[in-house]
């Protein structure tokens, strides 16, 4: 099949995937750096290229609430947001996932205030990690496009909402070549939305979100938890189907020269691509270095991560948000839990980088690898630190 190759920013790629998935409803409120998604959708609707009902309520809290209504009526419903917008939605996110509504959010990750900062980091994405959303992260514009189409299919099959994110500004505003599917191919892949229930189905009236007291609440939550665990299977199944269509391979993460690696970093988002050239340089010097670039953060692929890292001597988990546990970044905490069951546990350190859009360059990543190398040689290294600090 011949793929069309077009120049798109991460935001445009995501907006295109949204149009191709043909939502019934799109509700949004602008926020940097995701505003371009909203304006692209507005343009599609105005030009008659998208038939969705387009709404712009007064805040993100109202966006999420309106999405809840639309989705429970049986409509395929999307939005885009980031940072404070996502944080303002937070209360409703839990209500959406509890009601098992497969709403899909496209996001360009950005820092959280204060102090105010509009640039990219993963604080907003990590802030919602207990909201029972499927959380998928993209390294570049191509990933943003592919992940969104797959995200819709996964969310609707396991009846859980999903958020597909890319690095704010770094990916969201960077023009890159993206191979796109034809409209009908993309829609055939995603398929028609078959809602689990609809409040507009007057032949089968139901009560949604009723009061659930201690006699039933836990059973409902267990069923939600099972769905998240089951999503792992669906993610792999969907990736295989997508590979047949596009030729591009996806999984829980993208390993780079990880098979024989002795030292490695675990990282999410665009930094994984920056790190690849560092690995190439290190490999020339016979340093066996590798990358585990995590794509799926929820459900967290514990076993697969442990399997992929079991032969490493030392690892650094790089977080683009702090998490403020006083111990290490959120990705560090999860990854170290994943490694707990290994017989020969690799040594691990946590490094925080790129907060509020701070540059992360090859030199900085090299310095991280120097630390991991020392760690693998049993030398003393700071366990939890920042990269690229001025102080």
């Amino acid at each position: 099949m011949t793929m069309k190759r077009v120049a798109l920013t991460g935001n445009e790629a995501m907006a295109l995937a949204m149009r191709q998935a043909k939502p019934d409803v799109f509700i949004g409120y602008p926020i940097t750096p995701a505003s371009d998604i909203l304006s692209a959708i507005a343009k599609y609707v105005a030009n008659g290229e998208m038939e969705a009902e387009f709404m712009t309520p007064e805040s993100e809290h109202s966006v999420a609430s309106a999405l809840f209504g639309a989705s429970s009526a049986g409509a395929r419903s999307f939005t885009c947001t980031a940072s404070q917008g996502l944080a303002l939605m937070h209360e409703v996110l839990h209500i959406i996932s509890g009601a098992r509504l497969p709403i899909v959010i496209s996001s360009s990750s950005r820092s959280l205030s204060s102090p105010i900062n509009v640039h990219g980091d993963h604080a907003d994405f990590m802030d919602m990690r207990d909201a029972s959303f499927i959380q998928i992260f993209s390294e570049n514009s191509q990933d943003s496009y592919d992940n969104f189409l797959q995200g819709v299919k996964i969310a609707e099959s396991v009846r859980l909402p999903a958020i597909i994110s890319s690095d704010g500004f770094i990916t969201s505003h960077n023009l890159e070549p993206v191979e796109v599917l034809k409209d009908d191919e993309a829609y055939d892949f995603v398929g028609e939305f078959k809602p689990a229930y609809s409040i507009l189905d007057i032949q089968n009236p139901i009560t949604i979100n009723p009061l659930s007291l201690p006699d039933s609440f836990m059973e409902i939550k267990k069923s939600q938890s099972d769905a998240m665990a089951f999503a792992k299977k669906e993610i792999i199944k969907t990736a295989k189907e997508y590979q047949k269509l596009s030729g591009r391979e996806y999984g829980f993460f993208r390993p780079y020269k990880l098979k024989d690696a002795e030292i490695a970093i675990v990282v999410m988002g665009s930094t994984a691509e920056t790190a690849q050239s560092v690995i190439d340089e290190l490999r020339k010097k016979d340093v066996k270095a590798g990358i585990l670039a995590l794509r799926v953060f929820r459900p967290f692929p514990y076993l697969k991560i442990a399997e992929a890292l079991k032969n490493c001597k030392a690892i650094c988990i790089m977080d683009r948000s702090d998490g403020f546990s006083g111990h290490g970044g959120p990705l560090f905490v999860e990854t170290s839990a994943a490694l707990y069951d290994l017989k020969n546990k690799p040594k691990i350190i946590s490094r925080i980088y790129g907060l509020g859009g701070r540059e992360i360059n090859e030199e900085m990543i090299k310095s991280v690898f120097e630390d991991i190398k020392k760690l693998s040689e049993n030398k003393k290294v700071e366990r939890y630190g920042y990269v690229g600090l001025k102080i």
Binding site: G98, A99, R100, R159, A196, Y197, N204, P205, I206, T207, I208, N209, P210, S212, D215, S216, F217, E219, I220, K222, S223, Q224
Partner: protein, 91 residues
């Protein structure tokens, strides 16, 4: 709809509240009405925080609705009759 009856806590049958008897919240004590002491003053009816005091069509006290009584004991406390017409007893 999914077969799992706990899926999103959705209720398919109407009138399900009728099936939900809140007496399960009661913790050990329930009120007992002693008809011969009762003066039909209905102080218990006014003070009951639920609607667990039954009143017949003539406006007379007619005992407790134990399906919804939470066993708080307010009716027994406020009963002005001597000796009392409502006492709390073990379940």
């Amino acid at each position: 709809m999914k077969k799992n009856k706990y899926f999103a806590g959705i209720i398919k049958d109407p009138g399900s509240t009728l099936k939900y008897k809140t007496y399960v919240w009661r913790d050990g004590l329930k009120p007992s009405w002693i008809k011969k002491n009762c003066t039909n003053c209905l102080t218990c009816f006014i003070n009951c925080p639920d609607q667990a005091i039954k009143v017949d069509k003539d406006g007379n006290m007619a005992g407790h609705n134990l399906d919804y009584c939470k066993g708080c004991g307010i009716c027994a406390q406020v009963c002005p009759a001597k000796p009392k017409a409502i006492v709390m007893k073990k379940e």
